[in-house]
């Protein structure tokens, strides 16, 4: 089965090979390492790099929410993948997408829908956004670039990305709700971090 947006995937993957600079940038963005490491380092920078104590505590709660949301969204996607495998990856159905995936990426074996990367990245972005909107902008940008690069590389359909994004955003709000209900738990971890000069 192919999703209704498979035509878009065929169209966009047709550009691979046209511009070597674009391919180079997309190959870097779509790796399993560049964006997740960058998001994590950015959150670490915000954790330590805020001088105002009140603002710092708020940002640190945002980072705790973002980190927890990343973990939970990863688990949710793994759970869904155990029961649902709606359609194959784009490179299984289309020659252009296969060429794109072989050129820029590799051929993953896990289900296409929902996209784990979108769930994780948008969970981080939304988790941060709930506590500090301005600080979340770079994470949203990185999440978006990562998602686009995976579509360009023929690894996901846009619907996979939208599905993952939806899961990530819902999970972030859920995590925020859990943080609100179980206030003493994140407060305890924050207090412990403060004792170790980490917060």
């Amino acid at each position: 089965m192919t999703p209704p947006d498979s035509g878009f995937s065929e169209w966009i993957t047709d550009f691979v090979g046209e511009c070597s600079a674009c391919d180079g940038v997309m190959a870097l963005l779509c790796t399993d390492f560049f964006v997740p490491v960058s998001i994590s380092l950015y959150m670490l920078l915000r954790w330590f790099g805020t001088g105002n104590p009140v603002q710092r505590v708020k940002t640190q709660y945002g980072i705790m929410c973002a980190s927890a949301s990343m973990g939970i969204s990863c688990g949710v996607v793994a759970l869904i993948n155990n029961f649902v495998d709606i359609w194959d990856r784009p490179f299984m159905n289309d020659a252009n997408a296969r060429h794109a995936a072989e050129t820029l990426f590799y051929l993953p074996h896990d289900p296409s829908f929902p996209a784990n990367l979108a769930a994780v990245a948008f969970a981080a972005a939304m988790g941060m956004c709930i506590y500090n909107r301005i600080a979340s902008i770079p994470i949203f940008v990185l999440a978006l670039l990562w998602s686009i690069s995976r579509i360009y590389a023929g690894a996901h359909y846009p619907l996979d990305i939208l599905g993952g994004m939806g899961i990530g955003i819902v999970v972030a709000f859920f995590t925020h709700g859990v943080f609100w209900v179980l206030k003493p738990v994140p407060a305890f971890f924050h207090r412990m971090a403060r004792k170790l000069y980490l917060a």
């Binding site: 870097l28 790796t31 399993d32 790099g49 001088g51 973990g71 590799y106 004792k195």
Partner: protein, 142 residues
């Protein structure tokens, strides 16, 4: 026999170098003088940017390191988390040690010091000095 996963070790080095640079940039941005590797903020910031830049350039442009070669998922998602946390921890320990050595004479006047506020203490003391002060005054704190 102990087997070493070289891809995982490469990823660990990437996170270690990245975190080391980020701690210095963050310490300057947050004015945590007790974490600086140099006594001047400009040098500390440049030092942090250089460490971060070199780490990124080495790991994402050198094909031999496999961080940019998409031939397989060399480090799985859960492994990435574990290695990132371990790399961040190692970088933090090194930051605490080096900054405590570099700033062993103190970074602020006694009257300016803040004590018992966690990271806020590091605006005026090194980790070693703040921990020592807390240990000596533990009875008063109770």
């Amino acid at each position: 026999m102990v087997s070493i996963n070289y891809d995982a070790m490469t990823y660990l080095l990437l996170t270690f170098g990245g975190c080391l640079g980020i701690y210095q940039i963050g310490a300057v941005a947050g004015n945590f003088k007790g974490l600086w590797f140099f006594r001047k903020p400009a040098f500390t910031l440049i030092g942090g940017l250089v460490i971060l830049g070199i780490t990124y350039i080495c790991f994402f442009t050198c094909a031999d390191l496999n961080m940019n070669a998409n031939d397989a998922a060399v480090v799985e998602g859960h492994e990435q988390l574990v290695f990132f946390l371990f790399g961040a921890f190692l970088a933090l320990v090194l930051t605490f040690i080096v900054s405590s050595l570099v700033n062993h004479r103190g970074v602020a006047q006694e009257s300016e010091m803040v004590i018992g506020e966690g990271l806020e203490d590091l605006k005026t003391r090194t980790v070693f000095q703040a921990a020592t002060y807390r240990w000596r005054n533990r009875k008063k704190a109770r």
